[in-house]
Assembly symmetry: C2
Homo-oligomer: 314 residues x 2
């Protein structure tokens, strides 16, 4: 009998959630630890919202609205309509069921629990067996620098629908943000560390900016595998292209590989990007070319298998 | 031209709200100040809920669910279902739109606003022209003493559906509760002080227990008129009978009059209670017999007119 293989996944929101849907079909959920970006966390209506944690949890609890990629399937939006009547800005769509998560989280945080402790309780209530670790319990905010000033990532992403030029991306609080308990241990002790096909700047970049994370990853190079979120020179979803440009990165699988080259062992790129293989290998990174587009569950499972095999699991 | 007549109404929830629906048809809403019971206020899910204030506001904003008497018409209950999944007790029914009120109120209170200031903002957002004053901005909780112990009024009223014996009713915090700004001034300066057909113990009794309120009322006897909430020896709605028994009062219009006799000028009782007229007059209270059951809007308007005429208005 093969021993348990512990797997750590670095994750943002939707891209990571889709990848995890395949992964939990291939390995036991109990063997997986997901380290999730919290740079997008924001307070709305006095409630603490953790968009990426929620997307991961709702997806794993199979209650996610698959079409939108966020929120709870079949949710209503009555509260939001009424909040608008009270004068609140309501560009951040929070459904009524989704709201319950933020109410519960906020109450636990107010009682003095950390974000990790809060997340642990929520995932258990939702019946999720994958362990979920917020990258940090400290305050940490991703700001997008635009020509008209620096704004919260959610403001840029949701309110402005990522329109307009990005000059830079800043991680406020990164210098003082410490990894939450078990984050470093999980990276150091796992049999594989998988970097999801998430936004390299505002999802993975935020995780890398937290004290000690990059150093821990550097010790695990041969066990680290990333899936490119850039396919054919464009992000699968979201504003990764604008953000990569904003921080001076080439918008390509190569650009992502270059950003990760300090610690990355293996990079999985899409067939359409095969021409980039040699350039990426030139960075000292092993490259695997496969289909990375996850339309159906079968695609997700195949991708998970390729990823695991690349680090010698199964 | 007749000058403005300022009218103050002491109020609980549903009974008062129905009476106010008629009153605002007879006098300008701007001339009415409602002093509302806050002894039933409670925290649910980390949110401050003011049941009586909300019932009054939703009724005046014509968004109340008329059938239930509380909550917002056509509301959904998605959040509550999800809160249940998180392990919360959900016997206190909060709809999704209703929740927005509690979220807004709680956020304002956390910012340091008083309950009066918060209420003032909410009623303006809801387009309500009647002034609404919580009886106090201080913490003040109505507890029902049962054979198995002392419990929050909402627990007795909603969770236990007012089943079981009541030994006593206690107003925790009453000794230190000060009237909110303008409460005393409103009682002293109005041309009429109307006591709604609300529960005499847990709605009006809580108001009377706040420092200085009873003393102010005593100075206005001839301008004070109450509508009996007891008709034919039974409350129109709710547990007034059990609570009156619990504090040793006769469950009758007379029992209510006796409870108010220190300051009451005129008592309006239902036709079915005409036989109590003489007994009540024996307490030194002027009695008017009329129909007090408010089924249709016409009933509410008629009752409002009788009440106003009894103190010389219109």
């Amino acid at each position: 009998v093969e021993g348990e293989k512990m797997i750590t996944v670095l994750a943002g929101g939707v891209g990571a959630a889709r990848f995890l849907q395949g992964l939990v079909e291939v390995v036991p959920a109990e063997d997986i630890t997901v380290i999730v970006n919290t740079g997008d966390d924001a307070e709305f209506f006095g409630l603490h919202v953790s968009p990426d944690i929620d997307t991961i949890m709702y997806t794993l609890a199979t209650t996610v609205d698959e079409k939108r990629g966020w929120g709870v399937r079949g949710d209503t939006f009555s509260c939001l309509k009424m909040l608008k009547r009270y004068g609140y800005e309501t560009w951040f769509n929070i459904g009524d069921k989704d709201l319950a998560t933020h109410i519960y989280r906020t109450q636990l945080l107010r009682k003095g629990l950390t974000l990790s402790e809060t997340t642990e309780r929520i995932r258990r209530k939702l019946g999720i067996n994958v362990k979920i670790l917020p990258i940090t319990d400290d305050k940490y905010v991703t700001k997008v620098v635009t020509p008209s000033g620096s704004i919260h990532f959610q403001n840029y992403f949701v309110k402005r629908k990522f329109r307009g030029k990005v000059i830079d991306v800043k991680f406020e609080g990164a210098d003082n943000a410490k990894p939450s308990p078990k984050v470093i241990e999980s990276i150091l002790d796992s049999d594989a560390v998988i970097i999801s096909p998430s936004n390299p700047i505002v999802s993975i970049g935020t995780i890398l900016s937290v004290t000690g994370v990059k150093e821990a990853l550097k010790e695990r190079r041969t066990k680290i595998v990333a899936v490119s979120p850039i396919v054919g020179g464009r992000p699968i979803k979201g504003p990764a292209d604008k953000l990569m440009q904003g921080v001076g990165l080439e918008v390509s699988a190569y650009g992502v590989a270059a950003f990760y080259h300090d610690f990355l062992g293996t990079f999985i790129i899409d067939r359409v990007d095969e021409t980039e293989k040699v350039r990426i290998e030139g960075l000292g990174i092993n490259v695997i070319v496969t289909n990375t587009i996850m339309r159906e569950m079968e695609d997700k499972i195949q991708l998970a298998k390729v990823v695991l095999r690349s680090v010698g699991i199964r």
